[in-house]
Symmetry: C2
Subunit: 302 residues, 2 copies
């Protein structure tokens, strides 16, 4: 079964000396599942995954599983610039029973051809060599620059229909998401923002995978659960407005962390790894003040 | 002593199953030193370093040292998106006595501030914590997108004058290299192409670090050795013409490897890791035909 619903690219908490805080990470993952996350897209862009070394990602995934987070709820990011590292991470996640992996294209070399990206993903699949590997392509040109064209998605899915089963589209370009939904109705396609959730569901989309799920999962999930109800457009307008409050205030990842620090009173939450830079607590406070007017209530993790 | 002269970002040979070929790598490194390379910038962009996992880079560096390549000739690339991996690679290279490391900025997150990049490099320096670490900043915006601004170079060099000692400028923008040479006369500044070698030397540059050093080191080094002679401009024109032959024919890294395959008769030389794609041998043959007219003779490694 492919994922369906609202997935969250879980924030990675760090201690002040920049080490991942496993206990806090487990607690957040548990909390998001309790709130109804269909899956946890750990080690995404929002998770600062590319600021973690491969051994750190492996250790954190193992820690979640040992803490009892179910593997079938996990969609870890396993992308890397090197086919060796992407293979090792994908093999590990597959061996541990994760229900899928979110795979970036190799993103160092620019101007590479679709053939080159195809070769990379194909090599990962061959090297992992498991029928249990389920790959969700991670298209995020604003960060990776390198992306999966609509044609390339078709080649990969066509040649590996049981392995390349889905895609997260963080292009922010609805026309691209729409083309993917039209062209590959049998893939699980997720826009990378709840702003496109209702539009995507109306075209057969599988849900969304969104950074703001870290703070606003209940309202986003409510739209997913009621997207055919009369008030769906109204729900969409509200969650779009909430997202806009976060999006307009500061860079998303440090802001979400500063917001967690503000509402929980735990200053360590604000720690980001360089090259990201922390956001001032006063900005988080202003964001927090503006949200209740939108019917937003924050539920903190235990 | 900082590096001075012509350094080569050494090609990384792979076997047909995409594993690094350590023996061939050692032979090429030895050959380039015999030809007069001032240093070996292993694990650069030309080396497909970002297509190697961190453990592969560590193993290849150890292999070179065990084969007797002198550590003081080595300038390994130790950049990575994560501060953990960049720290581990830099610490390893420092511990093994390398005369410096070439450090990319973190290159996944785009639109990051100078403060964020400063924080990354500063954290690497603090975590490695060795007075023997010598960092050459690696500015290559065409690939990394994220770069070191002239101001940021000054902050890093100013705060760590004995550690941040040099820079490779692969921007391809002479005005940037020129500004760096004017502003930081006590740093070892290397343009990333021999096209700017004479101009750089005339402004106090330290030499160049160039991909085509893999094939044309003798002619490039001859200009370095004779840059104050009457025929320097003529030498510059010739090596620029040779570079142009390579540059205009196909993407540089696969072409250099296809050229090696062509001239040595060893087809494995042409193997690149995805996302790069191999170049057809006929293109390498055409390149090879055009070079003798420029006075170019290829010397193959043993």
């Amino acid at each position: 079964m492919t994922f369906r619903g609202v997935l969250v690219p879980v924030l990675t908490p760090f201690s002040p000396d920049l080490k991942p805080d496993g206990e806090k990470f487990v607690a957040l993952c548990r909390h998001l599942l309790d709130q109804g996350a269909a899956g946890l897209a750990i080690f995404g862009t929002t998770s600062e995954a590319n600021s973690l070394g491969a051994p750190e990602r492996i250790a954190l995934l193992d820690m979640l599983l040992e803490a009892g987070i179910p593997a079938d709820k996990l969609l870890p990011g396993t992308g890397a610039c090197s086919v060796t590292e992407a293979t090792a991470l994908t093999a590990h996640a597959t061996a541990r029973g994760c229900n899928g992996v979110l795979l970036l294209p190799p993103f160092y070399y620019k101007g590479v051809s679709d053939d080159g990206i195809y070769g990379f993903i194909d090599t990962v699949i061959q090297e992992v060599g498991s029928e249990y590997t389920k790959i969700y392509l991670y298209h995020i040109p604003p960060m990776a620059q390198v992306g999966f064209s609509v044609d390339l998605v078709g080649r990969l899915h066509g040649d590996h229909p049981d392995t390349v089963v889905g895609l997260k589209d963080s292009s922010g370009d609805w026309s691209n998401t729409s083309a993917l939904l039209d062209t590959y109705p049998d893939m699980a396609i997720f826009p990378g923002s709840e702003v496109f959730l209702l539009d995507a569901l109306r075209k057969g989309g599988a849900g969304c995978i969104t950074a703001t799920g870290n703070v606003n999962l209940p309202m986003i999930k409510a739209l997913f659960d009621h997207w055919q109800d009369d008030d769906a457009d109204e729900r969409q307008a509200t969650i779009t407005a909430v997202r806009k409050v976060f999006q307009d205030a500061a860079p998303m990842v440090p802001l979400l962390k500063a917001y967690y620090a503000h509402v929980t009173g735990d200053a360590d939450w604000a720690v980001v790894r360089p090259p990201l830079v922390g956001v001032d607590g006063s900005i988080a406070a202003t964001v927090a003040e503006g949200l209740p007017a939108l019917g937003f209530t924050f539920e903190a993790p235990a």
